[in-house]
Structures are given as C-alpha cells and as structure tokens.
C-alpha cells in the first residue's frame, strides 16, 4: 500500500514568510507525528496527534509553529514568519495504535525547507 507522503519535497522561502507543509499518513493509521531534522543532527520531536485526543505539542520550538490534523487524515504544519534557523528537513510519520499499543512509526520522505 501507499506509504506516508509529504509535500512539497523542497521549499525555499524568504525570511519572514509563512510556509505550510503537508503530510498524508498511511490510511488507517491513527497516530501522526512531526519531527525536524537539522543538518547533521538527529530527529527532534515537534508534535503528535492521536485520533481525537488533544495533540501533544510539547516539542514545538516557538509559537510560530503550529499544526493541524483533520480526523485521522491529512496534517499541515505551519511555520509563520520563518527564520533562517527554521531551515531543516521536516519529517512526518504515522503509526497504528491498537488497544493502547503504538506500533512502529513509518516515515515520509520529508520536506526540505530552506529559509534565505
């Protein structure tokens, strides 16, 4: 079946502009995650959605970052007034949560964001 997809694959924006990144999870996966990967570093957790529960936003680095998810489908990560330090690859992942157990996360190819 189809994996996690993300769009755009690359985004170049000017400092101060807003950007929207999209994630389409695997169909049927109830959990969705956003991570950020700066050059040469590991993945940094940003936000986690699980079904209709309130999202875990504990990883969002500032109030310029926000994310939404409609039901168990598409999610959008929005970065307002982008800064150069926002340049990174933004990865989305989804997983199946069954009877309280989360299974492994499947990652999309990422969106490479460059802020000039």
């Amino acid at each position: 079946g189809a994996g996690v997809s993300q769009s755009p694959s690359n985004k170049v924006t000017e400092k101060g502009k807003d950007v929207e990144l999209r994630c389409d999870p695997i169909s049927g996966h109830t959990a969705l995650y956003w991570y950020r990967q700066r050059l040469g570093q590991g993945l940094e957790f940003l936000i986690y959605f699980q079904g209709n529960s309130a999202p875990d936003k504990s990883g969002l680095p500032s109030d310029r970052f926000s994310a939404e998810r409609t039901g168990e489908s598409v999610s959008t990560l929005t970065i307002q007034r982008t800064q150069q330090e926002d340049s990174a690859v933004y990865l989305c992942a989804s997983s199946l949560r069954d009877r309280g157990y989360s299974y492994e996360q499947y990652f999309g190819p990422g969106t490479r964001l460059t802020v000039t």
Binding site: V4, A31, Y33, Y35, Q41, G42, L43, E44, F45, Y48, Q50, S53, D56, G59, L91, A93, S95, R97, G100, Y101, S102, E104, Q105, Y106, F107, G108, P109, G110
Partner: protein
C-alpha cells in the same frame, strides 16, 4: 524523560567486515527500542524493534540488535557489511505501555556509516 546516546558520530568499515553500532538509552521503565536507517535522499526505514521477549532481535537486511537491560544498551550488529549499507543509522527509544498517549520517539544523533572497498 528518556534520552538516547549514540557515541560514534562516524564509523568506517571495510566491505565484508563485521559492524557494531552502539546505542545507550536512559529510561526508567521498560523501553521500546528501534533502529532506523536513512540512506542519502531517502526517508527513514525501520530496521528492527524491541518491545519485549527475546533480547536478541532480528531485522531486515541481515541486521540484528541485542537489548541489554543491565547496560542500558541496544547495539546494532551485522556480521558482514555490504557497500549498500552505507547510510546514517539512528537509534530511538519510545516509552513503554505504562505511558499511553505519549508515544513520541526520542532519537539519538545518528551514526554515519562509510563502507570502503
């Protein structure tokens, strides 16, 4: 909070040689442990995972990892590497079943593997 340490930033091995990538974690309860591989220009792919049971787990591409609770380690091994194994490897820890609703993974900073002929 949980944390993961991958002490080796970069490892170089010869094709056909054995490989061990180190991973140490910090977590108070039974962790979920994962190894992911990221090839250039590719997304992360799950190599293997440990949830419970047998502490030696087998994964894809001939990789295995051993969970050692006493050492808080989950090292990745392969008996004979291939040139196609050159990639970035990430160890990750997730909270166990005692903490539903908080399944985000904490990743190490990665180990870059270079294979020489």
């Amino acid at each position: 909070a949980q944390s993961v340490t991958q002490p080796d930033i970069h490892i170089t091995v010869s094709e056909g040689a054995s490989l061990e990538l180190r991973c140490n974690y910090s977590y108070g309860a039974t962790p979920y442990l994962f190894w992911y591989v990221q090839s250039p220009g590719q997304g992360l792919q799950l190599l293997l995972k440990y949830f419970s049971g047998d502490t030696l787990v087998q994964g894809i591409k001939g990789f295995e990892a051993e969970f050692k609770r006493s050492q808080s380690s989950f090292n990745l091994r392969k008996p004979s590497v291939h040139w196609s194994d050159a990639a970035e490897y990430f160890c990750a820890v997730g909270v166990g079943v005692a903490n539903f609703g908080n399944e985000k993974l904490t990743f190490g900073t990665g180990t870059r593997l270079t294979i020489i002929p």
